[in-house]
Symmetry: C2
Subunit: 360 residues, 2 copies
């Protein structure tokens, strides 16, 4: 499977009830769909009899307010996936630079416009952190686009804004666009050292991709947005985006964004406590290396030469636990997997089962 | 406004509560969202915590069964709008033929790929019916794509399959693709003389666009599909389509499709009775010409030289009724408007108000 989280496919192929599955393959906030959003959906079921507002004005206004960004710089997408595809389509790069390993949809979106892809490899020896000097040196006038994922999926590594600013200087010189996917950035409470959302207006070559998917536990709703101060790029994106690309419920999400302070606080609280507790427990399991997470997912390398991720995955699946086999990420191999950080009780179940499986 | 149905924009700009508005500008089944679908949504609110099935297997299987078509020939879209944009993007026509007047999104999708557009005009004198011989003669080897809307929006005119087959013969000779938007076809009980869904497998140059939007009263859900037997085209479409392009609720629509026989019957019953009753009443109103509808919407021309559609629209809006000003359709002018066919009680209100407004 190309992605984590396909519990429907597991149900079909492995005859396991999706509701019985402990899904560690998708990185979703275990606090679940915010109560206010469930209430809004329940009360507005009949609103789907109308087309959503083609301008999505209420949602854009809420995003503007919540993130202190300019409404006219926001474009909405049917999930971050559509933002990624439409942004790349609008830029139409002939040559692009991707990190490896990283989220696989960038390469697919680049293939959709037949872009040549050059890879900058993140090294295990560096804990998969980016060598910014190397990336900057790789850019030349033939580079149309650089794609970053910050924090990077699946490695969890972060890039600091001070390094991104250096990169943007080179991008400006070479007329190269930089698309940064910040899909997991909401999980970082103090994001000012990492997110470019605070200074995007200074950089016409910068496009930021964001999503509510993971933080608000709504991957089934399809809701992402892009931010860019470059009017030419925005115009191109609007030109290729189909109308009514967000459904009615997604269009109502602004109300959630502006009222769910408590949910946000509880999420920070949970992640702060559970991340360190979970990592400590994982590090005690022999035969694997746990890479330090920055947000709500963890990359792990199996160190036992006799065990591949297929074996581990199958054994855990028999116990009703689904992990993300990372062997199809460019730059990783059959010794890597990724897990979400979930609630304490679930994480304890995973720990117990990992101990059993790895111990033998 | 470019489209009908934007009650949110009316609410913002005209200070009219959207729930107080009688919306005749969007052509939606007045029976409303099927009960089974409301039940499914209510019971599966928490399913949006998971990604939808990336293959949408259950929905495709239901569509296959309901329409007796091949699952492998179906591709899904976030509304018919995405199907239209992605199909045109995949074909990437340099030169295309459109009817005029017709639904405006074809031209937008063609502009998004910078296609030259040649228009074949439907004539008022012919009651806007298509002269198929003229269209066939217009096609030459430089024509990459022909787009038809059947029944055509906003004229309501139908094209018979026997004529489409002639057109496809020419398309085959000239290697021209034919995309037919059958978004309103479900409203026709006996569709065998009009829909190409029964014989699409014979024509590798044919792509059919369908939607559940209008018939099932779910424009806010975003759900459409395309049908094509041409593997090369399907492959191109899949290459450019973002993953998870349908939301979770839309992915569950197959259950509705296979169980709502009663809803379908009641819709036919309503349309059969109300269409003729409503048209008879409209024809009695002086100063306008009512074009014969084929499905659930009606094109009307104002014959009073002193009245424009702006005036009519504003006067009706003051009475809480929204009609579709058709002056922005290529080939129509400020004397045309379109109305939906709604329930008897609503239609009576419109008739009464039209009489008052037109009578003065």
């Amino acid at each position: 499977m190309t992605h984590g989280g396909n519990i429907f496919e597991i149900q079909r192929n492995c005859n396991i009830d999706k509701n019985q599955l402990l899904d560690y393959s998708a990185n979703i906030n275990p606090l679940g769909v915010p109560q206010t959003f469930k209430k809004i959906m329940k009360e507005s079921l009949e609103d789907i009899e109308h087309y959503p507002d083609i301008h999505y004005d209420a949602l854009k206004t809420a995003i503007e307010k919540y993130y202190t960004i300019d409404k006219s710089h926001i474009y909405l997408g049917n999930g971050a996936a559509e933002i990624i595809f439409n942004t790349i389509r609008a830029i139409a790069p002939k040559k692009s630079i991707l990190l490896a390993p990283t989220f696989s949809e960038y390469a697919k979106a680049l293939n959709a416009v037949d872009s040549v892809i050059e890879e900058v490899h993140l090294k295990k020896e560096d804990e998969f952190s980016l060598d910014m000097e190397e990336l900057i040196e790789t850019i030349d006038t033939s580079t149309d686009l650089v794609v970053l994922c910050n924090p990077n999926n699946p490695t969890g590594t972060l890039i600091e804004t001070k390094d991104i600013v250096k990169l943007l200087k080179k991008c400006h010189e070479k007329n190269t666009y930089l698309m940064i996917d910040e899909a997991f950035m909401d999980f970082i409470e103090e994001d000012k050292f990492y997110s470019m959302l605070h200074s995007y207006k200074l950089y016409p070559h910068l496009i930021i991709v964001r999503a509510f998917t993971k933080f608000y536990s709504i991957p089934g709703m399809r809701l992402g947005f892009g931010v860019c101060c470059n009017e030419g790029i925005l115009k191109k994106i609007y030109k290729i985006t189909p109308p009514w690309n967000l459904n009615t419920f997604a269009s109502y999400f602004g109300k959630v964004l502006l009222t769910e302070e408590q949910y946000v606080k509880e999420t920070y609280q949970w992640l702060k406590e559970e991340k360190s507790r979970f990592v400590t427990a994982l590090e005690k399991i022999e035969g694997m290396k746990t890479f330090a997470p920055s947000v709500n997912f963890i990359l792990i390398k199996i160190l036992k030469p006799s065990m591949t991720v297929d074996e581990l995955r199958d054994k855990l699946l028999k116990k009703g636990i689904l992990i993300r086999d990372c062997s199809n990420f460019n730059g990783l191999d059959k010794s890597y997997f990724r897990i979400a950080i979930k609630d304490e009780a679930s994480n304890d179940i995973l720990i117990e089962n990992l101990k059993i499986v790895m111990g033998k």
